[in-house]
Every structure is written in C-alpha cells, then in structure tokens.
Subunit: 231 residues, 2 copies
C-alpha cells in the first residue's frame, strides 16, 4: 500500500556544481550564461532542479547536470555542502545541494558545449544567488583537502611527470612545496605507477612518466600528514 | 513584484541530527521514539520537516529540532552531509540535510525531555530510514576531525584537567594518545586557559584545571598535524 500523501511545505530543491580545472592562469571555474529567469543572462554555476522521476539522488542529479550542461561524463565529483534559506533564490525557500568536480584542462573540441566559460577563481565576475560564497567554500575545501590527499591528480591529464604534478599541487595550494617531502608524500599515498620505459626531457636527466593507478581514478588516497610548507 | 510561482517537483525536505555525548560506556547517540508514521514507535534520530515560515536555513531547523525534541540550546552543531533519493523515506523522494552536535554528558535533570534515549554507538538498535548509515558517517567524521582539531572539548564539561581531556580524545579516537605529543598539540591548538589557582588531585602532583577560552566555545581550533599514534 502506498504511503498516504504528505502535505509537506514547498521547498525548491536544486543542485549546483563547482567545476574546477587548472590552466597556466591558475584554477578556473566553469560558468554558464543562464537562459531563464531569475538572473537570465547572468553567468552562474551549472545547476538546476532535482528531477525525482530521473535522479536516484542529488549526486546523480549533479552528474546529470554536468553531462547536459558541460558535456562531461563522470569526473571526480564530491559533495561540498548544502546551502539553504528563504532569500538565496527569489523563487522561494530553497535548498541547493552543492558538489564540486575536478577535471584536467580541456581542449576546445573535448566535447564541452561552447556555452561553458572558464573564469580564474581569483577574478570572478559578480555571481547571482549565493554562488560567490559557494565558490569560496569549494576553493577552501579543495585547498584543505589537497594538503593531505591525492585530490590534485584529478586536475592532471592521464600521464605526467612528478615535477609536473608538483606544479599542480603548488598551483592549488598557492605555495611552494618542498621537493623531498613531496616525493616522500607521493610514495606514501601510493596511488601512482610508472609508465615503464616512458620518460620525457633531456638525455642527461630524463623524467619518468607516471599515471594514476586504476583503483584510484575515481577515488582519493589520504595521507596522515599535511603536505606543504611545514617540514 | 514577486517572482511567478514555480512548478517545481515535490521533494520532501527534512533535517536530522546526530547528537553525541561521551560517558564511561563510550560515545552515545541520542535516539527518540517516533510518534508518527512512517516507522511509528521505532527509535530514530531527532529530525523533522524544514518549516519555511520559521526556519532561516537548515542549520536553524536543526537547532529548532534539538530545542523542541531534546531541550538543548545551541550546542556545537555542524553540517555532516545531505542524504537523498526516492527510497530512503516511504513518503516519497526526500532530501535530509544532516547535522551533528556534541554535548557534555547530561544529568537527568539537565532539561532533556525524558523521551531522549542514549545508546552506545557500537551497540545501536536497528534504525529506520538510512539512519544507521548516517550515524556511521557522523562517527567517521567526528573521529577524523578529532585527529587535528579541538572537536572533542565539546564533549567535556566546563572545567577539566589535561589527563581528563586526554581520556576524552582517546575515547573518541579509539586509541591511545602519546602524553607528550598530546600536551604539545593542545599548546599548538591554543584554545585552553588555566583556571588560576584551581587544581585537583593529590598534594604531591595536583593537576591544573583548564577551560576552553571564550573565543573557542562555539568554534574549532585546527592543527596542521594529526594527533594520535603517529609520533
């Protein structure tokens, strides 16, 4: 027997995604021009209503949003937090379950619809709703988590050298990382494997090429110690 | 001009709270007998519908839930995560924004309504909805966060000695903590102040009594290193 109907108050339930990548110009966040009210025409985070007939949960809704609006399939995706209240959306009392996702830099023909605009996180245009605060909290989470995990590898392409990966960590953390402790930490995290016989660079000091082990591609490896600037 | 009505799909929006305390029998979670369907009569986490006319956000709804259902006012309260999907609540597609709260052990006359039952986290009765999974994730978060923060002080009464606080950390972490590194970490966290002239214990080695500084009572102090078992 189905449960009797519930007279629950109407609350708008949305999902928003902070999609980040890293270029030579630093961390970038994906913004889209809104095609409907409220704030039609403004640049905002990709997001939309949860669809109970389609989505198996808010994570599934966030993955659908990324597929539909940015052309991305299953990047690294994690729940950030839920934002709520009567004033954040002019349509009414709303809850937005926010996820963040990390992807390697994409070439223009990588399938992302032309509507996606990448903006440096430190020079964002004014954003509608509470999206500026959402981006701020996402950056704080990514930086904090990068201190003790393999999170930044999701910003790399499939193959990279350790010096390249170190630059990615430094760009995310916003500070220099000691080379010896970086290599020790990567050893401890244990998520990389060498591409046998593949090196790049000069004949005298070629750099080994690495990739993320299969088991860690959608996952994180956690360290017990923070990485940067403290040893 | 008010925004035109939105035809958004109906999603149940609730808040649940994992309220934890620590007794000689370990970490305890507060459960309440449900007084209505679904699962009437079952023990469950304190929770209920968000009320758009009353609540300024889900955090405010969680604080209201604790006041109304447990008699507690403004304990340490933090968002855990949001749980969602079509099957977790028989009434329909639902979102529950979950918070966790930590309080010192309460005497029976501390104002908690008699309906609150404390259960050891490692011997919970079967719980309805996805409440068992929610408690599991809350414990993982509290243990992880206790490794590098002042979180466990919220389980202490107003005044305590360092040996007492160390026992609280050990009970939360489930492992022994080295005494020297514990005292060093408490120094680094910088959130304690001595009660001048107050000591307890024998005449030969009286223990200083401490309390949490005013500025840290609703907050956390974060360390850059994890605490237990690694130095």
């Amino acid at each position: 027997m189905p449960h009797p109907p519930v007279h629950s108050p109407t609350i708008l339930c949305t999902v928003d995604v902070v999609l980040l990548t890293l270029t030579a110009d630093g961390l970038q966040v994906a913004l889209l021009v809104r095609d409907r009210a409220p704030h039609a025409g403004a640049l905002a985070l990709p997001g939309g209503f949860v669809r109970p007939t389609e989505d198996s949960g808010t994570r599934d809704a966030a993955a659908r949003m990324l597929r539909e609006k940015t052309g991305l399939h299953s990047p690294y995706l994690e729940q950030l937090a839920t934002f709520s209240g009567p004033d954040r959306d002019p349509r009414g009392w709303s809850v937005s379950v926010v996820y963040y996702a990390l992807v390697p830099p994409m070439a223009p023909d990588d399938g992302a619809p032309a509507a996606v605009e990448w903006h440096p996180v430190d020079r964002l245009p004014p954003l509608p709703f509470d999206h500026a605060e959402i981006v701020r909290q996402a950056l704080a989470r990514v930086r904090s988590k990068s201190q003790y995990s393999s999170l930044p590898v999701h910003l790399c392409g499939e193959r990279f050298t350790l010096p390249q990966l170190k630059l990615v960590y430094e760009a995310v953390l916003g500070e220099r990382v000691n080379q010896v402790s970086f290599r020790r930490r990567m050893d401890e995290l244990g998520m990389l494997e060498p591409m046998v016989g593949e090196t790049v660079g000069g004949a005298h000091r070629p750099a080994q090429v690495w990739r993320v082990k299969e088991a860690f591609r959608g996952e994180l490896s956690l360290s017990e110690r923070v990485l940067a600037g403290r040893d």
